[in-house]
């Protein structure tokens, strides 16, 4: 299986926010009014204006103090639940590039039930602009990728945390890095490697970084009735 994949090696991340800012710059996103609420994490969350956010967590893991950095973004699932929901309401509102695998929100999303789309996502990624009803998330910088460039966040990363390329190469790299990390970090793991196109390598258990790191973290994600039906009916549609 090919297409493109991000490999995000959290053992190298220094939380510099280069990725967060580069994304803002490439997409010319507006700024949100922010204030320091007692954290360096700003903006505090993903939004229709912030498609990539670095999350900061101070936590003790196995008796050792850690300041964990989690550059959160869309996982570009191979089989995206958000797209399932979208398809069940407005076909081609959410599309997937057959070459790269990028899952992309289109203008047609303004006709979707945004909360249903968001709730379907195991990682809590999709956001909506309440004024326009347009939906936003990372689109893999698909325009750059189609032009032979790296996504903006990957290009800017100074430490080798952000990696991007053909899926088989990225998965090979991920496994190699996991193997090298294990001696010092025995609990290191790759997250949802088989089902997503943004594969995180966590040095400590994934749930330490953020509550929506791996599939199932936040408990069962309710699918709307429409989406559930869509999921059930999909194989039948494929036949017909």
């Amino acid at each position: 299986m090919n297409g493109k994949t991000f490999f995000i090696d959290l053992s190298r991340c220094t939380g510099c926010r280069g990725c967060q800012i580069a994304c803002k710059q490439w997409k010319n996103k507006p700024v949100e009014p922010t204030e320091n609420t007692g954290s360096h994490q700003n903006p505090p969350d993903l939004s229709w204006q912030t498609l990539k956010v670095v999350r900061f967590t101070e936590t003790t893991v196995d008796g050792k103090f850690n300041w964990l950095f989690f550059p959160d973004q869309c996982r570009h699932c191979l089989d995206a639940p958000c797209k399932m929901v979208g398809d069940s309401e407005i076909p081609d509102a959410i599309v997937q590039d057959p070459q790269t695998g990028a899952v992309v929100f289109t203008e047609k999303c303004k006709g979707l039930d945004a909360s249903g789309v968001r709730e379907a996502c195991p990682y809590d990624i999709p956001r909506v602009d309440p004024a326009t009803r347009l939906m936003y998330k990372c689109d893999m910088c698909n325009d750059r990728v189609q032009a032979g460039l790296l996504p903006s966040c990957v290009k800017t990363c100074p430490t080798g945390t952000m990696n991007f390329g053909d899926r088989d190469e990225m998965l090979a790299l991920a496994n190699e890095r996991l193997a090298r990390l294990k001696p010092k970090f025995p609990k290191a793991e790759l997250v949802d490697a088989a089902t997503v196109r943004a594969v995180f390598l966590c040095a400590v258990p994934p749930s330490a970084y953020h509550k929506y790191v791996q599939f199932g973290d936040a408990g069962p994600r309710p699918l709307s009735r429409k989406a559930f039906l869509a999921k059930v009916l999909r194989p039948l549609r494929a036949l017909g």
Partner: protein
Amino acid sequence: MTNHWIDIANSDCIFIVGSNAAENHPISFKWALRAKDKGATIIHVDPRFTRTSQHADVFARLRSGSDIPFFGGLIRYILTNNLYFKDYVVNYTNASFIVGDKYDFKDGLFSGYDAEKRAYDKSSWAFARDEAGQIRKDPSLKDPRCVFQILRKHYDRYDMKSVSDTTGTPVDDLQRVYQTYAATGKPEKSGTMLYAMGQTQHTVGVQNIRAMSIIQLLLGNMGVAGGGINALRGEANVQGSTDQGLLYHILPGYIPTPTAAMQTLKEFNEKNTPVTKEPQSANWWGNRPKYMASFLKSLYPKQDLDTGYGYLPKLEPGKDYSWLTLFDQMLGGTFKGFFAWGQNPAASTANSNKTREAMTKLDWMVTVNIFETETGSFWKGPGMDPKKVKTEVFFLPCAVAFEKEGSISNSGRWMQWRYAAQKPSGDTKPDGDIIYELFEKIRELYAKEGGACPDPIRNLDWDVATQHVFDPHKVAKRINGTFLTEKTLKVGDADKTFKPGDPVPTFALLQEDGSTCSGTWVYCGSYTDKNMAARRDKTQTPMQAAIGLYPGWTWAWPVNRRVLYNRASVDPQGRPYQPHKAVIEWKDGKWVGDVPDGPWPPMADTAKGKSPFIMTAEGMGLIFGPGRNDGPLPEHYEPMECPVGSHPFSKQRSNPTALKFTGPTEVHAACDPRFPFICSTYRVTEHWQTGVMTRNSPWLLEAEPQMFCEMSPELAKMRGIKNGEKVILESTRGSLWAKAIVTERIKPFTVQGQTVHQVGIPWHFGWTWPVNGGDSANILCPSVGDPNTGIPETKAFMVNVRKA
């Protein structure tokens, strides 16, 4: 840096201290992590746990201002456990030198202290010499008056308990750091020390660096791949600015600025040219007259050398003209005018209220900048009544970095040529054009109206433009230097004749007789027939590839040497101590690898070989350093504002030679219950310097929108402060608000059995923008400085913190 950025990846142990490298030099971490990939260990020593600490294998906390005890303990550990690199110490350092009888140290003071002048007569620190005038030595390192034994005796007081009591670092953590780092004393291992303002911005700043240098010399870590003393410089071209002599005490190329006590060039050369009796010392500063002559000719090619020297402004002997003194004088009304050129002193200088008040005494100010700043707008700042301020301020908007062609020099001494990506917008001009046009006008005025001392102005060679546009290539070529008259010199084995206008290929060919000019001798070789700084060639030999050395990528001073003092990376026979990461090697009668730090044969050739530390008079690394203003060996003194009344190492609480001033703006709080907490200032990745550029970049401001104060949960509880709420910080110099970040990354210290709290604030904010961003950290900082450099002590001072 003695080494360079990529070289960090060659290290076995990276000791980051007084630096938050991951946050403030993100690219450094690319290389630090690659070193880790190869099995290296990272040590991080800091008052708080930062984004760097997360990647450290060994993290240890230390109280701001207690670095010398920390290092002193490490020196003692290395000596007690015999972990020093013996051959290196004997052959390459002054450990064997016998110190003269007059030298003494008692209870925190070195011999020669004049309490009235608050200064040392350093003559009692001189080495003992024999009848022939050569320094006496004991290569067995046993003589009680040899440097090695004096060192041992000096740091005997720095036992782990005394160190722990002073730094607040638990003994176990000290042990872990010391053991890990001292392991690089093995000949095949190298350790690098990375530091920044956390080490330098203290009243003992220079001695902090001296302590690290001593450690690196003891462990044999100078001159080797993955070693060195590496300053992570605080600005993209500050290295370039010091190289070009922007500090008052040096001319370009680190030539001392002449004083009025040196009325002639001859006197200048006599007083500033070191001599040595060591037969194997290259004593490279012995060439000073050649560089001074070439510098004079770069400004005044048509005048003879004595006349040119006469044109240079001279300093009053013994007078301090450093940064803090400048503003203290400004406050006293010394200056009519002030150019604030690409700087923001109203936010960047310790004691902001004093600085801003000083600006009101000026008749005029010119601010050259790309945005409005707290400096250009000082007259309408908080507490100012514009009607009462007489200063006329001119704002010359200038081009930004990407609109100018020219070079910058990075921490690794690489001169990097950069092109203009676009033309300056609107009427903004590059700095070069502003200076060029300004001086043309000044010269016109002198021609029309006369003026005091017109000749230096009239006769300055001002050929820096082409068709009235500033030409960085012309200036770069002049910095490199050219022949002014025809000259035949020996180059290698052959004679070569140079014609007027020919570039000087290397500073070894610069002349004392006025036949060459060179604006900055260390840059000689950077612009010959080619603009070497513009090179982007990745060609390497396998030996160079093994240590990430790219000789064809940009140009490093001096002479494109990438690792300084690399003759110390080989034994006296010229064999690398670390063959798997060799920097140079003597092979078949010549050196291969990096440009050797002196082309002479290895030291074992007693006739032609030279010692590795060519910039010292005796050719040796200085463990005992008799040239600094506050002592030949680092000694602990508390910061001027400190939480303790005494310390275990001596009765001398603070640096007896520290730079300080008098007056109502100069009240220092020590053990003052009104200001019980230590405060330190620092930076974040998202902002830059005083924030002039970054506060005006919306995406960056969004990520770090407001002034904050990081504090421990214990302190927050004590003061009833909740995370995210506004607090007020106050010192004797002023107060400001900040948002509280309550975090476990900061823990209280136990110092001499007492709990001592520390807080930290960024210095990126200023009142001009954004509206609710906060004001400059320097409002709180004291105007006290290091006695060698004058650098302000912004890393350790005392404050109070309370709910707003």
